[in-house]
């Protein structure tokens, strides 16, 4: 972080002045740009490459109260071999589970190379004390999580207490140790695009390795427009500080078409340097099977029924 930015977090007033000094986002213009990029036509070889890249970027997710070790085991098997009949299908990037199921996921994935991500910090609402959030994070890290998906305190953010949000992210980052930190902004609750940009910068300045749109529990979630704004933020943050941060849209990305639109957004906003699972992830649960279905369609020229793709 450059020295000028290091001072920004010295008080809530300086933090506020900085965040409110960022250029605004015009909603109409941002929506228009995202919609235009949604009209890109990705066909043939480009589509085949995009599908494989999208599969490699998936954070295969289960975040239900009803999650069990059995459910996580099955999902991990799917993460390593998305299509049992086709070994050329790449592995997904990671699985994403609640902290108490991290150990199960670590065991099931073994040395497969698929990472284990865990939500933490009183996910999804984030309504608890910092101590509890740190303990939640420590639990996941101790169980072997490679990545932590934390939620920001949206209440504090909307109340204008940016310093509290900043310090909380910094504390969780410290609790992560070697684990990568993804900061969930829950853009659906931040409501305005100006807030999305400010929260993105706040999360990056506080040490987040990734910024993530949503928990998946609130609508709207990963819309093309908020993803666009967050991609602009990581692009500008790299130019300002020299540090590269990743982006993860999550929630509502269900089809191959949705996923490819996201890749186009990355390509024409942050740039192709971000088109790698280290820098861009897709948080999803049902997306994977649609990607597999489209992949098979491209290879064979026909669609198979949904029973030909595993449900794990």
């Amino acid at each position: 972080m450059t020295s000028s930015l290091a001072d920004v977090a010295s008080s809530n007033a300086t933090l506020r002045a900085f965040l409110h000094g960022l250029p605004g986002v015009d909603r109409v213009g941002a929506d228009q740009r995202a919609a235009m990029l949604g009209t890109r036509s990705i066909k043939t070889t480009a589509k085949a490459a995009a599908i494989d890249l999208a599969i490699r970027m998936v954070d295969l997710t289960t975040l239900e109260g009803a999650d069990t070790p059995g459910k996580v085991r099955a999902m991990c098997a799917k993460a390593v071999h998305p299509d049992p009949g086709d070994p050329s299908v790449p592995k997904v990037a990671a699985v994403c589970v609640y902290p108490d199921l991290v150990a199960q996921a670590v065991e099931s994935l073994g040395g497969s190379g698929v990472k284990v991500a865990s939500v933490a910090t009183a996910f999804p609402s984030g309504r608890s004390s910092l101590d509890v959030k740190v303990a939640d994070t420590a639990l996941a890290v101790a169980a072997g999580a490679d990545e932590i998906d934390m939620v920001i305190d949206r209440g504090a953010f909307l109340a204008g207490d940016y310093l509290k949000v900043f310090e909380e992210i910094a504390a969780i980052k410290a609790a992560c140790g070697q684990a990568h930190l993804k900061v969930i902004l829950e853009t659906g609750e931040l409501a305005t695009y100006d807030n999305v940009r400010r929260a993105s910068w706040l999360a990056m300045m506080a040490g987040g390795d990734f910024i993530k749109t949503s928990t998946g529990k609130v609508q709207p979630a990963a819309t093309p427009s908020v993803t666009l704004i967050m991609l602009e933020a990581v692009r500008d943050f790299l130019a300002t500080t020299g540090r590269k941060v990743g982006v993860k849209p999550a929630g509502g990305i269900r089809t191959t078409k949705d996923a490819i639109k996201m890749l186009v957004l990355v390509n024409e906003t942050a740039g192709e340097d971000w088109l790698h699972p280290d820098w861009f992830r897709l948080g999803a649960s049902t997306l994977l099977n649609d990607l597999l279905m489209q992949r098979q369609k491209m290879a064979t020229g026909r669609y198979a029924g949904s029973d030909y793709f595993t449900l794990d």
Binding site: P23, G24, V25, D26, V28, G29, A30, Q32, R33, T39, R40, S41, I42, K43, T44, T45, A46, K47, A49, A50, L53, E232, L263, V264, N267, E268, E272, L275
Partner: protein, 474 residues
């Protein structure tokens, strides 16, 4: 590297005939002038041979329109509306066909023809269809009367959209028309003629005569034409104004522009960059209201230029039929020569020229998106209309200076203001002498909104309720 594979739109949907005649009195007939060829500017391939309407042909067309005027003007507005609604619906149904033909003949990207031109064309017919039976309530008193025969001459930059702007209000008000499309882009107008037949429009209500400048002159100078509507260059507009002076013909002219796109330091920068790109590189800059002068507050000029250059590097120039193309072909070799000439002058006058690295196709007429920096008001690229993908960037210090520079042009068609401060938008809009002032957007069109110029950008308004006045005897 995420390379987009070619995604060409199929041209099979449109059936281009080897030759086209004139559309007079509901029939396709031969012209008596020497036929000309229309080409695809992206490939220089000949698309079709098109008839030239001589003075006699134009006379026949005007006579047909005069005869039809009796039937058409006497028809209740609600009946005329039915025809216009029918035409609008057929345009929607055949929009892919029309978009493909427009792209082939004009060189504009299929994405723009499909997503901008065609929806606006249909919207324009729907909008004026709605007025046809409500003219009593248009604010011109009870029972406003049509003018008679309208002679209309349109340009090549938005061939079908300009046709819609001309024909829809004329017909709604009860006039009949003789329209001459541009020499380089006659094909969609001729397909529109076919749509008139499909809609069973009474013969003679719409007549299409093709040809070059002489045909256009014959249309506007014909003694039995009551109304002249022209969109094109200020030079030709001036000539028309001179020729029709004293003839009693009602005239509207929509001419050139050199619009200022004004960006303040508190603007939403990412969207402003999009707006600048859309303002000048949309349709290869072949837009009369293009934001060809970028006025940036000096305090953010460098930062903005950097963002703009990065954005320009992403523009995809090439085959207009590819669905991912952003910048298509320059419409003709003549226009390309003009864009080149003015750009060379810009350089010679001391402005700094920049274009992204971009390979131009070998065949066809191409010009890379170009920015000039270090431009002063006294440079020709800041004064002359280039009508191409060339942006002249100037700076200003205060809102008053921005207004002064923006207005310091013989033109006054449009302007753009980018700021997050609402009060400043209103302050600026009050002072800018331009027919349209866009706030935090650019090149947004809507049939309900009047469009037209100040000063050398012409007179009269097209679109909206205001657009009716040009076609009514009021």
């Amino acid at each position: 590297m995420f390379e987009y594979a070619p995604a060409p739109e199929s041209r099979d949907i449109v059936d281009i005939k080897p030759s086209y005649g004139l559309f007079i009195d509901g029939e396709f007939v031969d012209g008596t002038g020497a036929p000309f060829k229309t080409i695809n500017p992206a490939t220089e391939e000949t698309l079709a041979e098109v008839a030239t309407a001589s003075g006699e042909d134009v006379d026949r067309a005007v006579q047909a329109a005069r005869k039809a005027f009796g039937v058409w003007s006497a028809m209740p507005g609600s009946e005329r509306a039915k025809y216009l609604f029918r035409i609008a619906r057929i345009i929607q149904e055949r929009s892919r066909e029309l978009a493909v033909l427009e792209t082939l003949d004009n060189g504009k990207p299929i994405r723009e023809a499909r997503d901008v031109d065609l929806p606006l064309v249909a919207a324009h017919f729907f909008y004026y269809a709605g007025w046809a039976d409500k003219l009593d309530y248009a604010g011109y008193g009870p029972g406003p009367k049509p003018l008679g025969v309208a002679g209309q001459v349109i340009p090549w930059n938005f061939p079908l959209l300009m046709l819609a702007w001309k024909i829809a209000p004329a017909l709604a008000c009860g006039n009949t028309v003789v329209l001459k499309p541009a020499e380089t882009t006659p094909l969609t107008a001729l397909l529109f003629a076919e749509i008139c037949r499909q809609a069973e429009l009474p013969p003679g209500v719409v007549n299409i005569v093709t040809g070059a400048g002489e045909t256009g002159a014959a249309v506007v100078n014909h003694p039995d034409v009551n109304k002249v509507a022209f969109t094109g260059s200020t030079e030709v507009g001036r000539l028309i104004a001179r020729n029709v002076a004293g003839s009693g013909k009602k005239v509207t002219l929509e001419l050139g522009g050199k619009a200022a796109n004004i960006v303040f330091d508190d603007a939403a920068i990412d969207q402003a960059v999009e707006g600048i790109v859309n303002g000048i590189f949309f349709n290869q800059g072949h837009v009369c209201c293009a934001g060809s002068r970028l006025l940036v507050q000096e305090s953010i000029a460098e930062e903005l230029l950097e963002s703009l250059k990065r954005r320009l590097s992403l523009l995809r120039l090439g085959d207009p039929m590819d669905k991912n193309t952003d910048i298509g072909a320059i419409n003709s070799s003549t226009q390309l020569a003009r864009v080149r000439e003015l750009s060379d002058i810009g350089e010679a006058e001391g402005a700094e020229r920049w274009s992204p690295a971009c390979a131009l196709p070998e065949r066809g007429f191409w010009f890379p998106p170009t920015i000039f920096t270090g431009v002063a008001q006294s440079h020709r690229i800041a004064r002359d209309e280039v009508f191409g993908p060339v942006l002249a960037m100037l700076t200003f210090r205060t809102p008053a200076e921005a207004v002064e520079k923006a207005n310091n042009t013989p033109y006054g068609l449009s302007a753009g203001v980018w700021t997050e401060k609402g009060s400043r938008i209103l302050w600026m809009a009050d002072r800018l002498r331009a027919g349209v002032v866009w706030a935090n957007t650019f090149n947004k069109f809507d049939p309900t909104s009047p469009f037209g110029g100040y000063k050398e950008s012409g007179y009269g308004r097209e679109g909206g309720r205001h657009g009716l006045e040009a076609y009514l005897d009021v």
